[in-house]
């Protein structure tokens, strides 16, 4: 049973850009005029984090923005944008919580109202959405036994047959260790549900000071695995990880014998997208100095988890500032792929910012906006697009904040003002797809949405996780370039594939099951 529903927010298609080079969208910073005033603050315990959760809790189709506050209270901004961006700080939402490092939206209890998983320096919380952008702490009601940890990462999936999600919480360092924090990584925890309540979590041992988690179907087996990005600054004997999380079995890490290759970076954020249209996701891993773009070496049903780093080849090492006078190595945090110029090729947004007075690394470290090109390479346009902020960035998001079909941008800065930019275009053709299921996993997490234009098919996986301490739960956005017709289908999490349906360009199209 599948149906296609068209939602509002149509916008006219825009003419194709210049013949040479990608179209550079122009971004207009509107934090001040939009009432987007907030700061993620703190010292050592908030050198990481600063996530933003972007989701619609008002039901108007425009996303609200929840931002971590560190030692400030977290904030929920209600979206009142029209042509320009406009936000109003919510009061009494229930999300005015202290010591928050990040948050991720998801519908935990399948009631059709989005909930929030809140990362804190202290006990994490599960906040149940009550509707009308009100929330209540449901941690106890849902049997969520949070522990006093420096929470830094989150991901969720619905295992086959499960009515409730499986939640992965990542944590960082034992805060009590002052002289020798190194080698004192605290536990990552996997929460599974049983009879409407989360069981005692499983320790994902070994844990290596995690800063990003992502459930992703890396090999298209139908069973997502847990990608874990770890900060080598603190672990000993650690590396990046990929965990088997198979229904009914204990989680276990992929091993060298299974083909997993040791990689040790200052892992800070994970972004995922099928960039080469082969049906398998690539992963961008943020770090310090060089970043990684991992491409599966032998895609196919028998694929091993072995990746080639193509960051240099494709022009996205993003290892040092590309503008300004400060040429010291960069520090990258949140990363996200979206097609900001709607040319049909995913672009890459990276939030940059010095950890905290680290003189070996750039202090004036501009955020990156790389435009994807047909041949698979990227070109940096952050300065030309107007988003080369030099503040101490951490979290961020790309999302269409005013429903005009142009992907906008926001950044959470540490000990500085949050920023938001309106994408003023130009904009090519686009379509947004919302996959919606009845019952559990309403947002079809780990489904694959495909959009076909002519003989080309773009794919995106519905994800809850990754980035730097925050994520977006909105219809998936596809730029279509000059294409005037498109079809879409959904490969649901259980493997059932919907029929191709013609979609209406310039609108959100809902595919229900």
């Amino acid at each position: 049973m599948k149906k296609l529903v068209l939602l509002a927010f149509a916008s006219p298609a825009f003419a194709e850009g210049p013949a040479e080079g990608p179209v550079i969208s122009q971004f207009v910073e509107e934090a001040e005029t939009a009432g987007f005033a907030h700061s993620f603050s703190g010292e050592w315990e908030f050198v990481v984090g600063g996530g933003a959760a972007v989701f619609d809790c008002s039901g108007d189709g425009l996303p609200e923005v929840f931002m971590a506050g560190g030692t400030n209270a977290a904030v929920l901004f209600l979206n009142e944008s029209s042509e320009t961006l406009a936000f109003r700080k919510a009061t009494g939402s229930g999300l005015e919580i202290d010591m928050v490092s990040g948050g991720y939206p998801l519908d935990i209890d399948a009631d059709g109202v989005t909930d929030l998983a809140i990362l804190r320096v202290g006990e994490a919380r599960l906040m149940r959405g009550l509707g009308d952008c009100k929330f209540t702490d449901a941690s106890a009601d849902w049997g969520f036994g949070a522990r006093d940890l420096w929470h830094t990462a989150f991901a969720a999936t619905w295992e086959k047959g499960a009515d409730w999600p499986t939640l992965a919480f990542g944590s960082y360092i034992d805060r009590a260790q002052e002289e020798f924090p190194w080698g004192n990584c605290t536990e990552n925890l996997l929460y599974r549900e049983e009879s409407g309540s989360f069981r005692t979590p499983v320790h994902l041992a070994p844990s290596f000071c995690t800063l990003s988690l992502l459930f992703t179907d890396w090999n298209r087996s139908g069973t997502p695995a847990l990608r874990v990005s770890n900060d080598r600054e603190y672990y000993k004997g650690g590396q990046e990880q990929l965990w088997h999380v198979d229904p009914g079995t204990e989680p276990r890490p992929y091993t060298e014998a299974e083909g997993w290759q040791s990689l040790r970076i200052w892992g800070m954020g994970i972004a995922s997208r099928d960039l080469n249209d082969d049906g398998y996701p690539e992963y961008f891993l943020t770090s310090m100095a060089d970043n990684k773009l991992q491409v599966l070496t032998t895609p196919g049903p028998e694929a091993k988890p072995q990746y080639a780093d193509e960051a240099f080849k494709r022009g996205v090492t993003a290892h040092q500032p590309y503008t300004g006078d400060d040429l010291r190595p960069s520090t990258a945090w949140h990363a996200q792929f979206e097609d900001v110029n709607n040319d049909g090729y995913a672009d890459l947004f990276i939030v940059k910012g010095n950890v905290w007075a680290m003189p070996d690394f750039a202090q004036a470290d501009p955020n990156n906006l790389f435009l994807g090109q047909e041949e698979g390479t990227f070109v940096e346009v952050g300065d030309k697009a107007g988003v080369a902020s030099m503040l101490q960035g951490r979290g961020g998001a790309l999302a269409d904040l005013n429903g005009d079909g142009r992907v906008d941008m926001l950044v959470v800065n540490r000990n500085g003002p949050a920023q938001v930019w309106r994408n003023a275009g130009p904009v090519g053709n686009w379509v947004a797809i919302k996959a919606l299921m009845q019952g559990a996993n309403r947002d079809a997490v780990n489904a694959w949405v495909e959009v076909r234009t002519g003989d080309r098919t773009q794919r995106q996986e519905v994800l809850v996780g990754g980035g730097q301490a925050g994520g977006v739960l909105m219809p998936l956005h596809f730029g279509l370039g000059s294409a005037e017709n498109a079809e879409a289908r959904v490969i649901w999490p259980d493997g059932v594939t919907s029929d191709w349906v013609v979609v209406t360009l310039g609108q959100i199209n809902m595919v229900e099951r």
């Binding site: 004997g237 040790r264 290892h319």
Partner: protein, 435 residues
């Protein structure tokens, strides 16, 4: 092991200190030896967690820390200063009438560490502050305030003198993590070319490091070394044979050989680096054998200067020979997709830096502890690698050298001649007078 050496001045000073009408010292007040080991434990972490601390930079820090520590101890005990022996080091401030050694070495190491690691990140800064405060509180617990202040002030004066000297050696400023922004490749078939897909590493690490002022080496930089086999692509050549050896071993590595390669890999930012590995060995021995302060300081300064000078001469020669790495040659001529076990370091091949500095380290340690001094090495235990046992320092150096062949990152000549080069460096350090 040699007996503890105490001279008249030390006994006199100790007597003066004991005669002071001070409150009873705390029962758990750390000894100066404990203070040194605590600081070196932290220093090894800072080496690992400070981005600019590649092996040459790490070796320099160990040398200056060692000199500062030695001069503090020597001034307190009337031992021989390195002033006039180490290149460019002028006489240091004299000690006040009496010092407390624990307070003195704590002040010396806390200030020297803070300044040498001023560029470490917030966690390192936090750790240094915590160590300074917490260990400092224990050190001064029950200590006469004036004596504590005088001791600390003397440490400050020594460090100021040492670091002013350090500023003039050519190695005090490291930018872009040591990678120059411009580099002109040699252009010959034998020339080094970048070997990784890391954008930052497309130029060689610290190409001017060989111009730095050494600590012990005198004259027109000695300890050169014979050439590697002449570069050739002829399968009958000695150079080709060296490449075949690296290639063939990579195909038949035993588990033990893989372990050896990883044990001595000592990658920057993932370990205390090769110089730190040897310092770790020494501090383990110091703790195990309860080495007295003067012998510990003597060993630390000799080891520090030896590895620092080893890197200077090694780097000068590396850039002169400008030889390509095995991965470049083997992929060019033998197996296009060959992968070595270890990541290839981003600088020219000949000689092997780890071999040179291990040759130097083992030679100075043998001069101190003797030729058949057995020890265990737990440097990487926290990283999941086993403790290894060695019958002698030279055996460890030999293993460190051959590990580079197992790892596929060096030809044999770079290893054999590198160790010899290090032994040459050690002779200069061994001639210096201390105890």
């Amino acid at each position: 092991m040699e007996p503890l050496h105490l001279n008249r001045r030390f006994l006199l000073l100790a007597g003066v200190a004991l005669a002071l009408p001070v409150p009873a010292l705390a029962a758990d007040r750390p000894s100066p030896e404990v203070v040194v080991l605590q600081w070196y434990r932290l220093i090894l972490e800072l080496i690992r967690h400070t981005a600019t601390y590649s092996p040459p930079v790490a070796s320099r820090a160990f040398a200056y820390l060692g000199v500062a520590l030695w001069e503090a101890v020597a001034s307190a005990r009337g031992l021989t200063s390195l002033a006039g022996q180490a290149n460019g080091l002028t006489p240091l401030p004299a000690a006040p009438g009496a010092v407390d050694e624990a307070a003195l070495v704590h002040a010396t190491l806390s200030i020297a560490t803070a300044q040498l690691f001023a560029n470490t990140g917030p966690t390192g800064q936090r750790a240094m502050t915590a160590m300074t405060d917490k260990l400092g509180a224990k050190v001064t617990d029950g200590l006469d305030a004036a004596l504590a202040a005088d001791s600390a002030a003397h440490g400050v004066a020594i460090v100021a003198h040492i670091l002013a000297w350090a500023e003039t050696d050519g190695g005090s400023t490291v930018e872009n993590m040591g990678f120059p922004r411009q580099w002109t490749p040699g252009g010959k078939p034998s020339s080094w070319v970048p070997t990784s897909a890391i954008r930052l590493q497309q130029t060689p690490l610290l190409p001017d490091w060989g111009q730095n002022r050494p600590f012990s080496l005198t004259g027109d930089l000695p300890c050169g070394l014979p050439s590697h086999p002449e570069y050739s692509e002829d399968p009958a050549s000695a150079f080709y044979a060296e490449a075949v050896e690296v290639h063939e071993i990579s195909k038949t590595l035993t588990d033990e050989q893989k372990l050896i390669a990883r044990f001595w890999s000592d990658d920057p930012m993932l370990s205390p680096t090769p110089p730190g590995h040897w310092v770790s060995i020494l501090t383990e021995i110091s703790a195990r054998d309860a080495l007295p302060l003067d012998r510990m300081a003597d060993a630390l300064v000799r080891l520090g200067m030896a590895v620092a000078d080893a890197f200077i001469v090694c780097w000068r020669v590396k850039l002169e020979y400008d030889l390509l790495r095995p991965i470049t040659y083997i992929r060019r001529l033998i197996e296009p997709k060959w992968e070595p076990l270890l990541n290839t370091p981003p600088f020219p091949e000949y000689p092997s830096g780890h071999s040179t500095q291990s040759g130097a380290a083992s030679s100075v340690l043998e001069a101190i502890f003797g030729p058949n001094f057995a020890f265990e090495d737990a440097t990487h235990e926290a990283d999941g690698l086993p403790v290894r046992s060695f019958p002698s320092f030279s055996a460890a150096a030999e293993e460190a050298g051959i590990s580079r062949l197992y790892g596929g990152i060096h030809f044999r000549a770079a290893i054999d001649n590198g160790i010899s080069q290090g032994e040459c460096v050690a002779e200069f350090v061994n001639r210096m007078k201390t105890l």
